[in-house]
């Protein structure tokens, strides 16, 4: 069983938002909404500043509160890679998942259903990388199978320091930031 995750090298990411453009065009994300976004986190006081730039999106948590809070089963773990997806025709738009996400990664699509990053599962199932990964000009994103010890992502995660976002929220996020 594959377990898809993503590693993003914060030492390479320059915050150019190409991933955002790629996502918007690939997935027809409606105007005014983002499935992925850039966060810039600065520590310190000028001139001693440390900056971390991250490309963020749904973390496809292994213990996803959006899945457990969904009253209809529309939010579910996909068979391929444990990707968290929303079945539009089962979603009633109750917003329990939106409120349950500690990352605020979800939004209500103007058509009424809950929407978010899908890891471009339609591309991944064809053997391609997600759109954001495929366009990154600095190649700072690695998408792959966390269960395969020989995958590029596993090797990176085993050899480099990394952190995930809000791990204390207890959702087991599957996006890791290499530092």
């Amino acid at each position: 069983m594959a377990r898809f995750g993503m590693a993003i090298d914060t030492k390479l990411c320059v915050g150019c938002m190409d991933c955002v453009v790629a996502c918007k065009t690939e997935n027809n994300v409606p105007e005014g909404f983002n499935r992925d976004w850039i966060t810039e986190e600065a520590f310190g006081k000028f001139p001693n500043i440390n900056l971390e730039i991250r490309s963020e999106r749904c973390n496809h948590c292994e213990d996803a509160p959006c899945v457990s809070s969904c009253p209809t089963g529309a939010s579910h773990y996909h068979d391929v890679g444990g990707v968290v997806l929303v079945e539009h025709n089962e979603c009633i738009g109750c917003k329990a998942c939106v409120a349950s996400c500690p990352y605020d990664a979800r939004f209500i699509h103007p058509d009424g259903y809950a929407d978010k990053c899908t890891f471009c599962i339609h591309r991944v199932e064809e053997g391609k990388d997600p759109a954001c990964v495929s366009v990154c000009p600095t190649n700072c994103m690695i998408f792959g199978d966390l269960d395969d010890p020989n995958s590029e992502i596993s090797k990176e995660l085993n050899s480099r320091k990394h952190h995930s976002l809000k791990p204390e929220a207890g959702t087991n996020p599957k996006i890791f930031y290499l530092t």
């Binding site: 150019c16 938002m17 918007k24 065009t25 983002n34 600065a42 006081k45 000028f46 001139p47």
Partner: protein
């Protein structure tokens, strides 16, 4: 590697292409001998001929790959610096002959007058110069620019991130309103803005007066006496509350 791009639609409303503007300017400056072409195809052909290709070939093949040539020192290039010695010259006899200091010295930029801040301008990765601001996807990602102000300065002036202010330069030019971004990521004596916003044409419906334009505030510039480069980050601005 050469790639060939062809226009899909004609330019709307008699807009003029870059090569034409350059040629017409050249004409008026009496430099027409440098602009021998009469249309874009002749222009491209002239340029391609200089590297041993032709437009005809590019049209036929679409992409022409030339053999890789080393360009880096690591790749075995013997650098040639077009100096009399052929080396990087820290002490330049050429400069001395022309009456300049042979070892150019750093001159401290002037400090802004009290209450003013040096206006720095730059780019955001989202937008290309001032021409993509109305692209719907890019506009969605970055609709307006903001003026970066050092946290301590912002606090002193009672400004918070998200407040709207106007900027006024030393020549009295006032910008359109622009959002404050109070941050530690800038020097206390300078403010920063992304270029390309605050567009003043009403025809640009989606970008009209969104953010402020650094270009309008750039009423002064400085010339490098050595090589003639223009420096534009030499203007000082102060804050005006958005009334």
């Amino acid at each position: 590697m050469f790639r060939f791009r062809q226009p899909v639609v004609d330019e709307p409303s008699h807009q003029k292409p870059n090569w034409w503007i350059a040629k017409e300017l050249g004409k008026r400056l009496g430099l027409q001998k440098y602009f021998p072409w009469n249309d874009v195809e002749e222009y491209l052909d002239t340029r391609l001929k200089s590297v041993g290709l032709s437009l005809q070939q590019l049209k036929k093949e679409g992409v022409v790959k030339a053999p890789k040539q080393p360009i880096y020192f690591e790749e075995g290039v013997q650098p040639n610096f077009w100096t009399p010695s052929g080396k990087i010259e820290f002490y330049s006899l050429q400069l001395k002959e022309k009456g300049f200091d042979p070892v150019p010295k750093f001159t401290e930029p002037e400090s802004p007058p009290p209450g003013y801040f040096r206006l720095l301008m730059g780019r955001a990765p989202v937008h290309t110069f001032a021409k993509t601001q109305s692209n719907p996807i890019l506009k969605d990602m970055m609709e307006e620019n903001s003026v970066w102000i050092n946290n301590d300065i912002a606090m002193r002036y009672g400004l918070k991130s998200g407040d709207y202010i106007k900027l006024k330069n030393t020549d009295g030019v006032v910008s359109s309103k622009v959002k404050v971004k109070a941050t530690e990521r800038i020097r206390p004596d300078s403010v920063f803005m992304v270029h390309g916003f605050g567009q003043r044409s009403r025809m640009l419906k989606s970008t009209y007066l969104k953010g402020a334009s650094d270009a309008h505030l750039t009423t002064k510039y400085k010339l490098d006496p050595l090589m003639g480069g223009t420096a534009m980050n030499v203007n000082f601005v102060t804050f005006e509350r958005e009334a």
